[in-house]
Symmetry: C2
Subunit: 639 residues, 2 copies
């Protein structure tokens, strides 16, 4: 009998001792980081709201209780009972019964009403039916990504259970080593922006954190081939942690599965969905640009199948000696600061991922409060000594001013924007300005992936800034559903109509004008002298966006007949800074200054050479901590 | 056809173009780092002394010319011809003909006379016989180690040729990566003394430098299990380099073969032999102390079979992108500073190994002159701010004074000493003092491995200090052959005789009085108040030597009857410092100060935490270079 089986047997005995005599436990097993308890008496469990919590705290495990399939009422019968318990206003859109696990997945427009105050409605469902309810939100805006991911996971449910059980046994294996050390190896994004990737290792465990591409340098991928990474076999990794979905952190996650990895990916639910959206688009773009994609779309599905979603604040065992907790990073939807607690009190490391320190319209500012943390790995995108950004209020004022002027002269406003994050921030600015009469209410057309990305945002309001979340939850005043927002889903015909029509605003990808529908908008509107092109995001050197910003007015366009040609840009061109998703230099310093507790060591990464060294030196002098600006391919030892 | 075969074919064509038309080349192949040219006309090659040198410089390869076996005269016939050519005074003791390679190994008391001025005699041998001569020295003192190693290599000659060919093809493989970086990973001896071990790696190649044990902490071995070392398979290493034979650098080299390594070990010839002697003794000691030895003696033989000996100054390809050159380190016989030239002019790293900066009686001081060197990995044993040693002249004066006093009162002198290095240094002091009348000529008894180690020293006089070498070469006044030196080879009986006899000096292992024949000498002489026990080497804390130095006089002895008992030490106890094989703090600073060129970066290793940090800080302040005191398990990137 393996040690894991011994462990499970002992756990079952302990649980049987703890619960009242009339509750029968039929099986105890691991599924990923969870301990799943099967019982013939799910109703009895549900009647005691404290029982699961007591067990969890005693066993120091995350616990799920499921009915023994033998004790279940039939699905048809349960369906009516479930719908009886849930109030109509919850807007249930789907019920999905899984006889193998006794779970019923309830998709509803208002998940909060399915859950009930402190979970009372959920418990009532179990008490009535014996089934274990799981609640997901019906996307307020239909999202093909969310739909596809959910359908795919439903279809792969059996294989996924096997995967989770294997991972669970791996997580709860016996520790082998009596050695003690903690190391970080840098595989990318050191003294550069892009290809974020790290290995966190102990004698027992190796975790890969992020695995991104380097925008504009397709050849420069993380150093996965070195022995510390995948050189000693992809399955020498215990876990992969993804801080957020931007491609410079996520693009090569699916590649790991091509290399033979078949372990878990820990990330938030919205990051999982956005990663699906963005990596599939990444493959698309590669194909369109005639580059061989590094993996097939099948690998994206593998990545999704192996994802174990965690919520902010969940403390989760991901290895015998490592607990992972995600915290809001304020950068994009689902972005996380990843906190690793290593050994039983031995050491703590936090990876910032990308962060925004102050609140934005979309998100609360990054969390920097931890039980313990000795080493911080900190992004340094704007770590340079002069990297101070315009105040967002000033930026918004300027943006509204530019838009107002353009609309007043009957012009149109075209804003190239990144689909995820900045587009939604601009949408919120526009919605408020129009609602409050600062701007006339004109159509705001969303083109490219922006609509889809917005739909994903509305599916996960829990991850948005608290007052925004409240508006969506309680007031039915979801700003993303405002009438003026229009999804361009009619292709060139619709764009032509918009172009022929009156004043409006267009948000379109790609954000740096490297292909995408924004190129069409240039063709349609580029020659209109009354219209304005407004840059609201960073334009990397060498991109068309950057060249236009720098004064270029001859713009190459695809030519719908297939031949390349060019047009002369007659639009006004404006730039409004200050909408970055990254903390600026002041924000980074504030993040560290107010951090609780203050770390002993900081590794400054994810910034060019100057930014990382400036920030490293400033933090050292200001806070008297040991700071480093690592190179790629170095290993630091902490214990 | 593999790329190596293509390469060899091209080389053969080039060589055929370069040599005169009447020389036929029948085959060209790699054996380890050498390019071996087989020819039907070895005599023609031999007649032009410059031809091989020209080819070597044009092809940038080390070249050996061998006769095609078909063109060879019979061995019996050649034997007489060879002996005819070599002058009788050379003292030939063995001739060994190898028909497969056309080589004749000539063992002679005076190899110089077999070689002749600028190699004229050697060339004459080839011209007369067609055979390629290889010369080795007949040990002036019979050494069972040297004899065993030579016999073993003779017996394994065929397998060794296969090994060398495989290694040769590996070294000359096509480079695969167009990436460029240079890294060092620390596997041991950082902030500690003992278990020296490093990985030097490029995208193409991984080299292990040293693999030692930690005296007094048998459990603490180098971190070989991490993926950067053997974790990704022992054969992911391209080469192993051994700086010298002391066990804290060599003890675990044979273990690599147990783990499946079957590549080359580069070291000097005397280091190979001393490693054989010391690692076999290491296994013996482990067995005697009831510890499970980490490998079997068979693995020592594997290590010897895979050794490719290099001489100081030989520039040798050990991988497609790395050239290795050894330089004298002044520490013990065959000890080397290892210089790595990486890429074609990309980067240069020197590993000091253990060094002695100043000349000693045995050795010239360490070489610190290189074509280029950007990073130095420097030992720091005596790197602490107060680690200044007594001048050797003062030490010798004190030693002679102590000995003289003891002999004058008819006492005996017992010196516990390490077999390799310090014993020979003391022997040279005693020989000179007796020759010059400073000390009376009394018997000097050598016990334990000292005699054997001395025999190995006399086999390789090329590695000794130049004036000592001259004495051995030209004057027939080999000090180690002085009459007063007596090898204790009669066991307890002989020791009893010595004890019963008049004044004398005893040098015996172990150097720290942790077992070995020194324990017998204590039993025989410990109660003699007129005799003196003299410490001349470092006594590690916790050893019996250290306890006696600190005043303890009750000494546990084995008891020849089998039961442990103890004796009361009545001998005088004296300590004479200053005979260390390590540079002291001043020596380390001088080594760096006079280094040419001065490196940009220094990693201070092989010293306790204080010593490495003191030295790192001093070198930084004094020479304004980047210095580090690494921890074990860290990786530094240089390019």
């Amino acid at each position: 009998m393996s040690t894991v089986e011994n462990q499970l047997e002992e756990l079952q005995t302990t649980i049987e001792d703890e619960v009242p005599n009339d509750i029968t436990i039929t099986e105890v097993r691991y599924e990923g980081p969870e301990l799943v308890i099967y019982t013939r008496d799910p109703k009895r469990f549900a009647s005691d709201g404290d029982l699961v919590r007591q067990l969890a705290s005693q066993l120091r495990k995350r616990i799920t209780v499921r009915p023994d399939p033998a004790s279940l009422s039939r699905a048809e019968e349960a369906r009516d009972q479930v719908l009886d318990v849930i109030p109509d206003e919850a807007g249930v859109t789907d019920l999905d019964f899984h006889i193998d696990t006794g779970e019923v997945v309830i998709e509803a427009e208002k998940p909060g009403m399915v859950i009930g105050r402190h979970g009372t409605t959920l418990r009532e469902i179990t008490q009535e039916t014996g089934w274990t309810p799981e609640v997901v939100r019906t996307p307020p805006i239909e999202s093909s990504t969310v739909k596809n991911v959910r359908n795919f996971l439903k279809q792969e449910r059996n294989e996924r259970r096997d995967i989770l059980e294997r991972i669970g046994r791996q997580i709860h294996r016996e520790e082998m080593s009596d050695d003690q050390w903690v190391r970080i190896t840098t595989l990318g994004c050191c003294r550069e922006v892009g290809r974020a990737s790290f290995i966190l290792s102990t004698p027992e465990t190796r975790v890969l954190i992020d695995c991104g591409d380097k925008p504009g340098s397709e050849d420069e991928v993380p150093y996965l081939q070195v022995p510390e990474a995948l050189g000693s076999g992809a399955n020498s990794l215990d876990a992969v942690v993804l801080t957020h979905a931007h491609l410079d952190h996520s693009a090569l996650i699916p590649l790991l599965f091509k290399y033979g990895y078949d372990g878990p990916i820990y990330t938030t639910e919205p990051t999982r969905d956005l990663m699906g959206l963005l990596t599939l688009d990444y493959l698309d773009v590669a194909a369109k640009e005639g580059r061989a994609p590094p993996y097939e779309s099948e690998m994206v599905r593998e990545a999704i199948k192996h994802t174990i979603p965690l919520e902010y604040g969940d403390v989760t065992d991901i290895a015998p000696d490592i607990k992972l907790t995600f915290h809001n990073a304020g950068h994009i939807l689902g972005s996380s600061v990843s906190h690793f607690h290593i050994g039983d009190g031995l050491y703590n490391v936090a990876f910032s991922g990308d962060i925004h320190y102050d609140d934005t319209r979309l998100f609360n500012g990054a969390v920097n409060d931890f039980p313990r943390v000795e080493t911080l790995v900190l992004e340094s995108t704007y770590g340079g000594r002069n990297d101070y950004q315009t105040d967002q209020e000033d930026s918004e004022r300027k943006l509204k001013h530019v838009i107002k002027n353009t609309l007043e002269r009957d012009g149109k406003v075209v804003i190239p924007a990144f689909a995820v994050g900045r587009s939604q921030e601009i949408m919120l600015v526009l919605e408020e300005a129009m609602r409050e009469g600062e701007l006339p209410t004109v159509p705001v057309h969303l083109d490219g992936m922006i609509w889809e990305a917005t739909a994903i945002h509305t599916t996960y309001p829990e991850y948005l800034r608290d007052d925004l979340r409240e508006r969506i939850f309680h007031d039915d005043s979801n700003p993303f559903l405002a009438e003026q927002f229009n999804h361009i889903d009619g292709g060139e015909d619709e764009r032509q109509e918009v172009a022929d029509d009156g004043p409006c605003i267009v948000l379109s990808t790609s954000g740096m004008m490297e292909g995408g529908p924004i190129m069409s908008w240039l063709e349609h509107l580029g020659s209109e002298a009354d219209s304005t092109l407004v840059f609201v995001g960073y334009q990397a050197e060498g991109t068309l966006g950057s060249r236009i910003q720098n004064g270029r007015r001859e713009v190459p366009i695809g030519g719908r007949g297939g031949r390349g040609s060019s047009l002369t840009l007659d639009m006004d061109v404006e730039t409004v800074d200050g909408f970055s998703g990254h903390a600026d230099r002041q924000g980074l310093e504030n993040f560290v200054r107010t951090m609780n507790p203050r770390p002993e060591k900081v590794l400054c990464v994810h910034g060019d050479e100057r930014s990382t060294q400036d920030l490293s030196s400033a933090l050292y002098h200001e806070f008297n901590m040991r700071t480093f600006a690592p190179k790629n391919l170095e290993t630091f030892r902490f214990i």
